[in-house]
């Protein structure tokens, strides 16, 4: 395998969970949580992974850190395949790659003090030898995330949600990682606190030169932080592109529907594509394109081969075979096309596909 120079190079990542049934359990099928996902992440780059629940976005993040063992695929970090690492190599790898979890109420041990929580990775990695050294390092880390030193000896329950998430971030940063996997880091926080944590992550990224996998269902937050965005659906990447290219000129019908469903403050009337039905079962996903059962542009040939990601603009890849559709820009915003023209065009498309998609 060639070294592409990327910090992280994921090829053909797959996580299938076996389903067993019977008295003598036999494998009867697989839940395809992540199915053949490939992407690269450059140093200092933020890649957003957007998807709904069950899309496999968190599983991707955890596989990359080997918190979940992938079923197949290569995960190259600085050119070395970490998916084959043994215990010792893996421990050394964790100095370079860390994770911030969604729920700061569940991810911090309630019986430990903040100093112990933030200092634990330093001890595990043998990066501090004395209690004094640990306290000094942790004090510095708390400062980095704008928490006062009075919190050193407190317990998690004395902290608010935003403060706890700062502790979680300080802990992840303690070993000086190059890669941070942030799994819905602001989703559990109050609206007025979300912006504080998003700003903090942005500052830290610049200050420490962090690369980030930013996993979220909230595209507005992601669009603020990410350089590129990958949209996943049923364990597969539908589209991956620089964020402006993706938000302003998506080339995948699922991204179109996803963006149109985000309610924007102050935008009352706008074209929304309401997807019918539910996400199909990942045990038995549709043949060909997995989105075709809910896609208003689907044709017979979409059920054939599984579409491969193909380049449609610089660094912009889509897994849609149709080149002849022009997707509506339905996201809110000031340079959206005039609404009359827009709505007639969208409605025209819908009339051709009654009952599959509706524009509201």
């Amino acid at each position: 395998m060639t070294d592409t120079g990327a910090l992280l190079d994921v090829q053909g990542l797959r996580k299938w969970y076996e389903l067993r049934a019977g008295i003598i359990p036999r494998v009867t099928g697989h839940v395809k949580a992540v199915d053949d996902v490939s992407f690269q992440l450059q140093a200092r780059e933020v890649l957003g992974i957007a998807g709904e629940s069950g899309s496999g976005k968190s599983t991707i993040g955890r596989c990359v850190l080997r918190l979940i063992e992938p079923t197949a695929g290569e995960i190259r970090f600085h050119g070395k395949d970490i998916s084959r690492y043994g215990r010792n190599d893996l421990k050394a790898f964790r100095r370079h790659a860390q994770i911030v979890f969604q729920d700061p109420f569940a991810s911090l041990d309630p019986k430990m003090t903040i100093e112990e929580i933030v200092g634990e990775p330093l001890q595990v990695q043998g990066m501090v030898s004395t209690r004094r050294a640990r306290r000094d390092r942790v004090a510095g880390l708390l400062q980095t995330v704008s928490l006062g030193l009075e919190y050193l000896d407190r317990s998690p329950h004395e902290l608010s949600g935003g403060q706890r998430q700062r502790v979680g971030i300080a802990r992840a940063l303690s070993v000086g990682p190059e890669l941070l996997v942030a799994d819905e880091p602001v989703s559990a926080l109050d609206v007025s606190i979300q912006a504080q944590i998003v700003n903090l992550l942005e500052d830290l990224k610049d200050r420490f030169g962090l690369a980030m996998l930013f996993i979220s269902h909230d595209i507005a937050v992601m669009a603020h932080l990410a350089d590129r965005i990958a949209v996943v659906y049923l364990g597969q990447v539908m589209e991956i592109a620089p964020k402006r290219s993706l938000l302003r000129g998506t080339r995948h019908p699922y991204t179109e529907a996803l963006l149109s469903a985000v309610p924007e403050p102050g935008v009352r009337h706008r074209q929304r594509i309401v997807l019918e039905g539910d996400v199909p079962n990942s045990i038995d996903p549709p043949s060909g394109c997995v989105f075709r059962t809910r896609c208003r542009y689907a044709r017979a040939e979409c059920g054939g081969q599984r579409p491969q990601l193909r380049m449609v603009a610089p660094d912009h890849y889509t897994a849609c075979i149709r080149d002849d559709i022009s997707l509506a820009f339905v996201g809110g915003g000031k340079d959206a096309p005039a609404s009359n023209e827009e709505s007639s065009r969208v409605q025209g498309q819908v009339l051709g596909h009654p009952g599959i998609g509706r524009v509201v």
Binding site: Q196, H224, A257, V267
Partner: protein
């Protein structure tokens, strides 16, 4: 009828007057809801927006008579409701028996997490049927037939199969549809929806919001929509109450909320949101609100928002408690300085 019949304005369906809810927590008294007043008419959608601890959910529960007075819980104020039959009543003064007639029949409520509101060991049909038979004199078979019609109206694919399913077999969106079916089974004149789409994906959220709007157009039901999501508010609400630390800090027609918010908290909240438009794409920092939501056990002196407010002035904002003042048509604000400042202008 023990609920006296207070004067409800002719156009109003429900009027909340000076609602106060306080709990004893340890050695402190926590004022969860502090002097909330508003009214809602038939066919109208009112949003109550706030962050955690703002008192928005407690307000909703109190309106349903779901908060019991006890040694550690005090409720005062009036919740006047126009009933489908029997005239007007004050929900807070009803007996348990009368409350059970009001709930479901006149007012219904749906919650954030449908899984915890449904009973895991009964089928969907049994649970919808139960709600119907509690309020209407119909037999089992007829109740099931009605349940089937409801599910069909709510766009549930394969409704016959859904009736025999159990909650764990359904997706989050389907469970919330079932909750809505139960809530709508007796055609209430008011639906209180407490964060009904927060646990759902955005594409499913769009389906549910659509559904509620369609039902409202058909039945003329009023909806009180409790949420933290200002994007959802702009899609569904006619009027909006913004709550902060147990109080209403702004009451405003929804269009004006986004165009010209007068309360610095509302304006700051709007500015702090990442948005799918140009400003956000420029990649600048978000305008975060400093500090955190105050502890309801000891709110700050003066205006409860003043420690986090860009416009607060020593000697004015930290002294007396500001009242709600009319600052426009149907627009109320709780700010001493509303005449001199334009907090929405910086957006």
């Amino acid at each position: 009828m023990s609920g006296l019949a207070p004067s409800l304005p002719p156009q109003a369906l429900l009027e909340v007057d000076n609602l106060e809810v306080s709990f004893v927590a340890g050695s402190r008294i926590v004022q969860a809801v502090n002097g909330v007043s508003f009214s809602i008419a038939s066919g109208e959608t009112l949003a109550i927006v706030g962050e955690s601890g703002s008192g928005k959910s407690t307000t909703g529960l109190a309106m349903m008579g779901l908060i019991q007075r006890s040694a550690t819980t005090a409720i005062s104020g009036e919740v006047r409701l126009r009933r489908k039959a029997d005239g007007e009543c004050d929900v807070l003064k009803l007996s348990g028996r009368e409350l059970r007639k009001v709930r479901g029949n006149d007012v219904a409520m749906i919650f954030q997490e449908p899984m915890s509101s449904l009973n895991p060991v009964y089928s969907i049909g049994a649970q919808i049927g139960e709600a119907i038979r509690l309020h209407q004199h119909v037999g089992r078979a007829e109740a099931q037939a009605k349940a089937l019609v409801l599910l069909k109206d709510l766009g549930v694919p394969n409704p016959e199969k859904c009736l025999t399913s159990y909650p764990h077999q359904l997706s989050g969106g389907m469970r919330q549809r079932v909750m809505i079916a139960i809530a709508l089974s007796c055609e209430p004149s008011l639906l209180i929806a407490d964060e009904p789409t927060t646990a759902l994906d955005v594409t499913v959220q769009a389906q549910i919001l659509d559904l509620l709007a369609t039902i409202q157009r058909k039945t003329g039901m009023a909806i009180i929509f409790i949420t933290h999501n200002l994007g959802v508010v702009s899609l569904i609400a006619d009027r909006t109450l913004v709550m902060y630390a147990g109080q209403v800090v702004e009451q405003v027609p929804t269009g004006e909320l986004f165009e010209r918010p007068r309360m610095p908290y509302t304006a700051a909240l709007l500015r702090s949101l990442p948005r799918l438009d140009n400003e956000r794409l420029a990649g600048e920092r978000l305008a975060a609100i400093p500090g955190s939501v105050p502890n309801a056990g000891h709110p700050p002196d003066g205006c409860r928002f003043h420690p986090r407010c860009d416009y607060s002035v020593e000697g004015i904002c930290n002294g007396e408690r500001p009242g709600l003042t009319a600052c426009g048509t149907d627009h109320l604000v709780r700010c001493f300085r509303w005449r001199e400042i334009e907090p929405g202008a910086a957006a």
